[in-house]
């Protein structure tokens, strides 16, 4: 990060792209080597990575800790369920095309209110607003199914060209949907990369580092934060839209505030000061959680302990710790040379 003073040499600037290409290549070939369950788990991981990328635009790049991002995830999921229930839409593309504006509008409305505050008040306000949605989903059970939730069967992909009806649909769906989600994820990550490296993204980081100076430079701080909030909520909503057909069901749990806590958790797990931190965190968290749930009834205890230890010992997350090790190794290499 501090390399911004002197323009880094070309090969240093190419590193991230090479890394991303390698990671993408690896992700493309993974299903060939692992079973169906692992593929499904990885799909969940990629979806959580999208949610975390969106969340981190606020936490890592704008310096605002939202404790209510379950609202946008859940909103995406419920919008898909309503589109199916009321309009009979079964196409994944239409879900995204119609769902994203809904999430964006609600994010804009909630964000307009929330960005008036920073720090802990911002967090509590986002939490309170997300809980409004949760309690509505819980109490209006004749619309939302209450705690039973709403079922969303497998959709059709690519404008109805790929259908999963009939026998053998399930394994076909898992595999195809993995690549579908991977495609959307790659696109979303690329868009987010462009956003945070654009002048707009730099402005957000400037506001994060010193709000008063940013204001002196003539930035309209609140408007920048609002835009960041809108983008952040929309990305997380996209994750919710992708999540619900895979899960097959949406319940008020994805709107409840502990789920927001999970989003914060996984972003921190990966490291919120890096671009790739949330991606690593999303995938790693999905695996840790699924193994914790499978191995013990008391998985929350395990996760809570992991979280506390993580915050105590690894405040920069997995990616932060790895890059620190890499930096130290390269420093040793320099001295040897």
């Amino acid at each position: 990060m501090e390399a911004a003073i002197a323009r880094p040499r070309l090969h240093a600037r190419l590193w991230p792209y090479a890394g991303a290409a390698l990671a993408l290549l690896a992700l493309i070939f993974v299903p060939g080597f692992v079973g169906l369950y692992q593929t499904q788990l990885l799909t969940y991981g990629l979806i959580m990575a999208i949610a975390a990328l969106g969340f981190n635009l606020l936490l890592g790049y704008t310096g605002l800790l939202s404790f209510g991002h379950s609202a946008y995830f859940g909103l995406g999921a419920y919008t898909v369920a309503f589109l199916l229930q009321w309009l009979g839409i079964r196409s994944m593309e239409l879900y995204m095309l119609l769902g994203l504006p809904v999430v964006a509008i609600v994010s804009a409305a909630f964000g307009y209110v929330c960005v008036r505050h920073t720090r802990i008040f911002f967090g509590i306000l986002t939490l309170a607003l997300s809980q409004v949605l949760w309690s509505l989903a819980l109490k209006f059970f004749w619309v939302t199914g209450g705690t039973d939730g709403l079922r969303v069967p497998r959709p059709t992909l690519l404008a109805g060209m790929i259908d999963f009806a009939g026998s053998g649909g399930y394994p076909r769906f898992i595999l195809t949907y993995y690549y579908y989600v991977l495609g959307v994820f790659a696109l979303a990550a690329a868009i987010m990369w462009v956003i945070v490296h654009s002048p707009f993204g730099k402005a957000l980081q400037a506001i994060r580092d010193n709000e008063i100076r940013a204001r002196f430079l003539g930035m309209r701080v609140r408007r920048f934060r609002w835009a960041a909030f809108l983008l952040s909520g929309t990305f997380t909503g996209l994750a919710g839209i992708l999540w619900v057909p895979l899960n097959g069901l949406t319940t008020p749990d994805v709107l409840y505030w502990p789920f927001s806590g999970e989003i914060v958790f996984l972003t921190l797990l990966g490291g919120f000061r890096n671009f790739s931190g949330p991606i690593v965190g999303g995938i790693a968290f999905t695996y840790i959680k699924s193994y914790a749930v499978a191995s013990t009834e008391y998985w929350q205890l395990l996760l809570g302990t992991v979280l506390v230890v993580l915050v105590l010992l690894l405040p920069t997350g997995i990616v932060g710790a790895l890059s620190k090790i890499a930096k130290r190794l390269s420093a040793i290499g320099e001295t040897v040379r």
Binding site: L59, V113, F121, V132, K139, V264
Partner: protein
């Protein structure tokens, strides 16, 4: 008319319990600047300990009147939990950014919720013997449990004692001094670490007391802590984080709205509460009585 009185008493009952939780939350934030997400779980632990002790005591054939003594014992046990937690988990974080403090208490919440399940199992724990021991009273044609009146009394007494401690004693001066300027207080030779432990323990005591007095009328169930925390949040947001007066007024407002909500608009009762919190935050970010 008697329905109205019963509903009024019901809201005062809720207000007493909510005040105990929210005042602890507010006190901890006021002194330590930490929003304790695990506060609801401490409330739930109080409820579980009380219910468990009541069950034990009945097994030993302890006379019913003595069971009331279990309530302060359970609250003290929770205070002790707080004394263990503060130096172990919270102290390393005072110099770190707020995000980490929130996260560590969130981790604590996950841990405590499961520890309760581990120790007391998934089934609700009841202590209604205590409630039945206190005779019911008649209001008009309706029967009302006398225990609820006792809870209101405990709530009022707790509020008065807390007020006296914070505003009339030397310890209260120390608390307020630390809350206003931690470094200045330390520079004047005050043992800030001790004040922090004490403040956290008092906050935990109040949460535990809230849990212990609510458990004879409601059973101790899993998830009650998370639910209580969010309501306590609404209370402190409306009243103002860090303000005792705010916790009191907020608790009254929230319980009256809740009681009215359950009576007249049950579907949106919770949504209305959160909306009130959001509106207060928009109009007065520091709450009705908050300063920070």
């Amino acid at each position: 008319m008697s329905i109205l009185i019963v509903q009024l008493l019901n809201s005062l009952f809720y207000a007493s319990v909510l005040f105990l939780i929210a005042a602890g939350l507010s006190l901890i934030f006021g002194v330590m600047r930490i929003v304790n997400l695990a506060h609801g779980s401490l409330f739930a632990i109080g409820a579980y300990i009380a219910a468990w002790l009541v069950g034990r005591a009945i097994g030993f054939g302890v006379p019913v009147v003595w069971l009331l003594l279990i309530i302060p014992v359970a609250a003290l046990a929770v205070a002790f939990v707080g004394i263990v937690i503060e130096p172990l988990l919270l102290r390393p974080f005072y110099r770190r950014a707020e995000e980490y403090q929130l996260l560590v208490t969130f981790g604590l919440l996950l841990i405590l919720e499961d520890l309760m399940r581990l120790v007391w199992g998934g089934l609700p724990l009841t202590a209604d013997t205590v409630m039945d021991a206190i005779p019911s009273i008649h209001i008009g044609g309706l029967i009302y449990p006398g225990y609820n009146i006792l809870v209101i009394g405990i709530g009022v007494a707790a509020a008065i004692v807390l007020w006296l401690v914070v505003y009339e004693t030397k310890f209260g001066v120390l608390l307020r001094a630390t809350s206003q300027d931690r470094r200045m207080a330390a520079a004047l030779g005050l043992n800030v670490g001790l004040v922090y432990v004490a403040a956290f323990a008092i906050g935990c005591f109040m949460a535990g007391l809230g849990g212990a007095i609510v458990v004879p009328s409601h059973a101790a169930v899993l998830g009650m802590g998370v639910e209580a925390l969010v309501l306590a949040f609404v209370v402190v947001v409306v009243g103002g984080l860090g303000s005792l007066k705010g916790a009191l007024v907020g608790a009254l407002i929230v319980s009256f709205v809740r009681t009215a909500g359950i009576q007249f608009f049950p579907e949106v009762e919770l949504a209305v509460l959160y909306l009130i919190a959001a509106i207060v935050l928009i109009a007065r970010p520091t709450g009705l009585f908050g300063t920070a």
